[in-house]
Chain length 338, copies 2
Amino acid sequence: MTAETKLTLARLAELAGVSTSTASRALKDNPLIRKETRERIQALAIEHNFSINAAASRLRTQKTHVIAVILNLIDNTEQSTTDPFLLKLVGELNQALNAKGYELLLSNSFMASDDWANYFIRSQRADGILVIGQGKTTEKIDLAAKSGIPIVVWGDTKTKASYPIVGGNNFLGGYEATKYLLEQGAEQILFLGDSEHAEMRERLRGYQKAHAEFNIEPGVSHVGAIDITSKTAYQYMNQRIKANGLDFDGIVCVSDMVALGAIKALKERYVGIPSDVGIVGYDDIPLAELIHPSLTTIRQNTQQAAELMVDQLLCQFEGKPVNNQVVETSLIVRRSTK
Amino acid sequence: MTAETKLTLARLAELAGVSTSTASRALKDNPLIRKETRERIQALAIEHNFSINAAASRLRTQKTHVIAVILNLIDNTEQSTTDPFLLKLVGELNQALNAKGYELLLSNSFMASDDWANYFIRSQRADGILVIGQGKTTEKIDLAAKSGIPIVVWGDTKTKASYPIVGGNNFLGGYEATKYLLEQGAEQILFLGDSEHAEMRERLRGYQKAHAEFNIEPGVSHVGAIDITSKTAYQYMNQRIKANGLDFDGIVCVSDMVALGAIKALKERYVGIPSDVGIVGYDDIPLAELIHPSLTTIRQNTQQAAELMVDQLLCQFEGKPVNNQVVETSLIVRRSTK
DNA sequence: TAAAAAATTGCAAACGATTGCATTTTATTC
DNA sequence: GAATAAAATGCAATCGTTTGCAATTTTTTA
């Protein structure tokens, strides 16, 4: 069916009876070429199922129109493949990138070699890097940024950095989650999450601020330093209740997944939600409204997040100034709180 | 800091005092080059942070070492960004591909132009295509396959096709889910899912087979033709109960997401699970064991799925014969059934 | 120690598109 | 109708690697 000689731009030009330069320009609708000629060549290209060789084009133009998206996981957590929020963000990034004419090369921090700048940019695999998550240390990110490549990170916008960071308002989120519980009468609120992680630390600060405003001192043991998975949350809660009994009446979780783990533990012990313990999650994953009781949570606008990240990256391509960007955050009240 | 002249292979060779050919071979550990020379050049490359220009390499070798993964969504459903199962599969594919030295270019059927063979392969953007989902029509897939490019599809393995299909044993899955409910005494079992979709149709066949074995005739209205999202499941169940009352005592769902939607509707009407109605889901997403009651479901081994898909693709590169592959499927019994 | 064999290295031609500049064609002006 | 300006097209170098083959160096053999 096809075959013969491989269809290159040169061959297409030959078929059209023009030079490769003309063909090249015609295909990208360059007004240098007469309109009729352009249209004729474009039609011919479609007819013959022609498409430009990306490798050659990239080599020549030094542009790939590919962006590497790196899921920067926290080591030894299987957050990645499990966390719906992150994956949702990847999906949104795909949309946002495509809308701007870019493609998405997916990687995660375990796979990609350690020297991102080198591996992705200098090697012309991609034009820029979007990192999802700061991890526990920003070492690799800093290394990459230092070599001056275009890069944007999803994470805690209050971190000092030489690259733009896009993130939710974690302080506000933590604050509102906590405040809402306090308003509903909770007095002993647990904070579930790893405060070594920058974003979570901000949320913890919000938690503390809310307590301060209500003149309540959080119990000393009220911060549960756990991984971000539902499993560890479940285990932690089980153990905690076993040891201390029900010495709390509210929980602020750093993710909906964590909240789900906690809820499971509580339910198994017949703790009433929200009657005995009110719970607030974070992220508003699709399941938040499906579980019973539906989950009060802090929503982060992922679509906006993706668009902002892409914007900030494109700014770097164009040499425009970049800034940290804060994504909308809102409290979604459902049934897991009174 | 860096700069000077851009570091190319030629420049590196110059620094090492050898020709580019030697440098090229040395970097890929070609035994043609003396061992000491190889090591010297490799060390130099590391020292100078050198990495091969992928565009040039791809142009020359006609290999990209990139695989396009296409989320082939069902139109006007937002299954994609929502369905944890599909996203999990993407994650696993990423691992499996990386393990074989390939990278993953993510696309979805809304984005990618319609002519996949053209856009991805002929243009040298990727070496092969992995399609996740058959959609409602296999039109685009068939078109791509017809032009003889390497392609593997996740879907219903009983579909006749010119390309290898990897999928779960949907017939068995549907059968086991149903049989289990019947064994527990259910007599009026609903099937929730779109039977126009090939995979779901197979599951429905399994559902029918189980009924036949138990000499039970499923009620005429017992197949709810709904989209694969939890939202439509929720709406459907709500409406159905309103109209018909509780004229069933079991539900077989085509996904855990659908099951969650159904459970939500039932709970809101204080229907007991599993006392009044037993429910079986499909996929075993992480949340299945976190909700209350935890969800009995059919697990599909996603890791195996990813590996098989990649295998079948590599076979095509090597000209080896390919075959449809069936992934392990198992019933996970939890608390949503008696 | 010279010839033959084996081990290393280098030359130069691809791979296929893009683009500054030169050239040709067409339109405009006096 | 010749001179000039404007529009359209083509030439040829370039992007950075890879690799068949030729050339060189080293080792082995007689």
